[in-house]
Subunit: 556 residues, 2 copies
């Protein structure tokens, strides 16, 4: 089979204005970024139309290093729905340059289920990530300058929590000391860089209602604490306006097209552990303004992605999906069934059945939100009919959820017609109930964490470091305990231990640290080791990316 | 008078395709970035047309903190030429976000002589600077990762000369230590960040002939030296292709429009001290492909900007200006005449006459290149007629150069009609001779430096630190002594001492350090204190930038 980029190149793209028109976006509102990408002004969102559109969340079983293919299923489902005559639009996250040049490759789908032009989407795209990087580091520079320029007047901060960001995988930048050299090089201090998707600005952009709301949230960002314990914010620095100016284009959703020329929005890309892992609210609502069915995804497995999608993104925006599609693969289930990574490509019915527990637990969790669930089986070349049948029977007979095979990677929309039919039928016959959140706004911070950890993850007890206890106290004193919690933990397990596969239960869940995202309006609870800045592997993908005769090679 | 951004907003912009068509760029070649900005593929450059076009360099007397207004004159001259029926296009550098949010404000001209949309040009524009920042820091990450991943095999570098960049004024990043914390955070080492215009990638982009040449130059970048003294390059790292992919759109010139709807190219923006300070060769040649008169500028005073424009940019591209316009202001001349900064706005004939020496020395220098010179007097509101007359008489009678007043800031093209007439007449009657470079390629490195420092700056002797002597030896051993030299010194004096105004002579010129830019193919000789990363003032411009009712305030 051809590589992703070869397939992408073989497809004749429509002009983006044509794509826009095909879903009813007026031509004159389309702001081109090249011929095949456009920004659509957020002002076009129509809340009445949003209410009438059918939102579908695509999530997955617990992630494996083999990959589950959630993005490919999301795009495939949109293709399939269009194929059976529905007006469907997919809304996805933007890829980050770090993983693209590191290990993972791009994030624009795969095979015949991609969003295009993939090489632009995977590279600088419309510059949203660069704008966020600029805005974030501009705050850093202005903060350090403020301290430097006002030190003679006795100003100082007891603690600085604002770091810097770059959209690159660079382990050397995780922990640095800045301001070395002569006194005119500023204050010497410990600092570090996170990858841009981990920036609070990214989370803010994805949760903001509009530019005014963006500015308000930027003002509220806490940069550090003064010696008398008060938060020092961007408002105190007096530069929220300047930061918002840097983000004024980035806030508008990006329109692209699928491998079959249908509309797709790709906008925002927060990390799915220390942030909420969903594309922007504005992009989802824009897609819902122009599509009858809107497919969106949330990062990593359902424990991380779907939970935050419902409890954070939906709570803040009023969205409520009609259906949740959970993606499973035979290889993934076998891994959760205890089969070693080297052997998951071989047929193994016993290992497969052992792995059903992971899927079952996710389905149970999704139902706790009132969601109707169907399983999309993402078929890989080596999967046997016997394996597929066993999973189908398990889903339909044991779990009593709809089941369909997605083959869009190999066949495009044609390969997702069954799945699309199942989705439409299920939404018509048995749509989800209104969302039931896992916790209430006025639950205490600990109660919120415990409800997620015990009721969804399966922990028996939650313990707290003294640092996190102190921070919870501070949060209560600041009167912001009503924010939702965003639990940062490994994507490889229901627990905080990446080595515990399957459907683990009755573990201790330890909160190491708590971080206030006062602009994003969420409380990040960190469990286990979470890297905010990835590293590169020994042989990074960058060694295989090249441009030959004007054509890019090595992007996938 | 209205502020720059108020004027910018009051002007109804033409669609950029219309602007392109007005100079003969085919519509289908225009790649829109929004409605009013486009990238024009470098492949459209036609060397035959370039040969027939009239290139005009705009340079200035030695810079003062008051500002000389070189960009405003460049744009004004283009407006004036169009006003008198000539097809004129201006080619300028892109502004950097650092100064824009720091002290200086934007860099898109001023008053009624601006390039538009100024708020986009001054902010993220087409993302070129972001692409350069990404490409540069991707190399840093890949380099540090290579050392980290190969240390077990005994690989190491004796010296690393590659730093990182960010497009921000952040003094805290000048000197940092990276790779702190656990061993998995990489190798602990000293490093630092420069501002993006100081990146060698920026210089490369502005000197590259095409994408292949760009890739070749990226491969040649020296990142450090091995323990046996060999250069370690991007080619050794094996990622030149990936870096070029990140720059594949950035290499194409950006088309915008002037306040009077005429075409303007704005592309590339290297520092004018540690780099060569001119917009890209590709943008200049693109403007010359479609314009009969092309106006371009070079950073800072003629000693820095014009010298590098001729000896580096013209030498590498084969370009040769028909005329050089030097911009002078009454305030600037008075400052060079010894008047204190606080009093230069007051009439002072004696101080003014004392300052003529600075202008005279620049004119003499420009003539040494074989250039025909005219003086553009950039009139400020407080200048008296007596002052203006004195300067005119000095130019026409003593210097025997053409003289015209530029009033484009206040009046647009109408205010530059005299200047335009003078320029056309001078080019017709007395065009410049073919360029005479200050030094030959096969002069030794020291000889090159001495020819610039003694013959142009007026130094009596050049001295070298032992570090720079060692580096010169290394350069000779590497067989790259034929590269042109790029002298990095203060823009405020002919000497390396920013406090020596006027037309100083007979000073010692000390070379502190030599840096090899093997990708840009130039040898940077550093004289005096050169900051590659500016700082912010106590009250940065960012405090005054805001967005109110969707409209930006505080950009200028």
């Amino acid at each position: 089979m051809k590589s992703d980029i070869e397939i992408a190149r073989s497809i004749e793209l429509k002009k983006i204005k044509q794509v826009a028109e095909s879903v009813g976006i007026p031509r004159e509102e389309v702001e081109n970024y090249g011929r095949y990408i456009a920004k659509i002004p957020e002002q076009l969102i129509d809340e009445e139309k949003v209410k009438r559109s059918n939102l579908i969340l695509v999530t997955a079983i617990t992630a494996t290093k083999a990959g589950i293919g959630k993005t490919t299923v999301s795009i495939g489902l949109a293709l399939g729905l269009n194929k059976i005559g529905k007006k469907a639009i997919v809304a996805l996250r933007e890829p980050s340059l770090g993983p693209c040049f590191g290990m993972k490759g791009g994030a624009a789908g795969g095979g015949y289920a991609q969003v295009l032009p993939m090489e632009k989407i995977n590279l600088h795209f419309t510059g949203d990530f660069h704008a966020i990087t600029s805005a974030h580091n501009m705050i850093s520079a202005l903060l350090d300058n403020y301290i430097y320029q006002h030190q003679a007047e006795g100003f100082g901060l007891k603690e600085i929590i604002w770091r810097r960001v770059l959209d690159v995988n660079d382990r050397s930048l995780r922990s640095v000391v800045t301001g070395l050299g002569p006194r005119t090089n500023g204050i010497t201090q410990e600092s570090g860089f996170d990858i841009t998707p981990a920036s609070e600005i990214m989370a803010i952009l994805c949760l903001a209602k509009d530019t005014d709301d963006l500015r308000r949230r930027v003002e509220n960002i806490i940069l550090g604490f003064t010696y008398d314990g008060k938060p020092f914010t961007v408002k105190d620095l007096g530069v929220a306006g300047a930061v918002t100016v840097l983000l004024k284009d980035a806030i508008h959703p990006n329109l692209v097209q699928t491998t079959e020329g249908t509309a797709a929005f790709v906008h925002g890309g927060p990390f799915a552990n220390i942030a909420h892992g969903c594309n922007s609210i504005l992009a989802t609502k824009m897609a819902m303004t122009f599509g009858d069915y809107v497919i969106t995804e949330a990062g990593f497995g359902a424990d991380l992605g779907a939970e935050k999608f419902y409890n954070i993104k939906c709570r803040k925006s009023g969205l409520s999906p009609k259906l949740t599609v959970i993606v499973a693969t035979a290889q993934g289930l076998k891994m959760h069934g205890g089969v070693s990574l080297e052997r998951i490509k071989e047929p193994n019915m016993e290992g497969l059945r052992e792995g059903f527990g992971n899927l079952d637990k996710h389905v149970r969790n999704l139902r706790s939100f009132g969601q109707t669930v169907v399983v999309a089986f993402n078929r890989f070349a080596g999967d046997t009919d016997e394996e597929v049948d066993a999973i189908r029977r398990h889903c339909e007979e044991e779990l009593e959820v709809g089941f369909a095979i997605n083959n869009a990677f190999a066949e495009g929309g044609e390969g997702a017609v069954d799945l699309a039919g199942l989705v439409v039928e299920t939404i018509e016959k048995e749509p989800s109930a209104p969302l039931r959140y896992t916790y209430e706004e006025n639950d205490s911070v600990q109660r919120k964490i415990e409800k997620v950890a015990c009721n969804l993850y399966g922990a028996s007890v939650v313990t707290y470091s003294s640092a996190s206890r102190k921070m919870i106290k501070r949060i209560e004193e600041m009167g912001i305990a009503h924010y939702p919690v965003c639990i940062a933990k490994t994507q490889y397990s229901f627990s905080a231990d990446p080595k515990l596969y399957g459907a683990v239960n009755n573990f201790e869940f330890h909160i190491k640290d708590i971080v206030i995202n006062n602009g994003a309006e969420m409380i990040v609870a960190i469990a286990g080791e979470i890297l905010r800045m990835p590293g590169l592997p020994k042989s990074p993908q960058a060694e295989r990316i090249d441009i030959v005769g004007g054509e890019i090679e090595g992007l996938s």
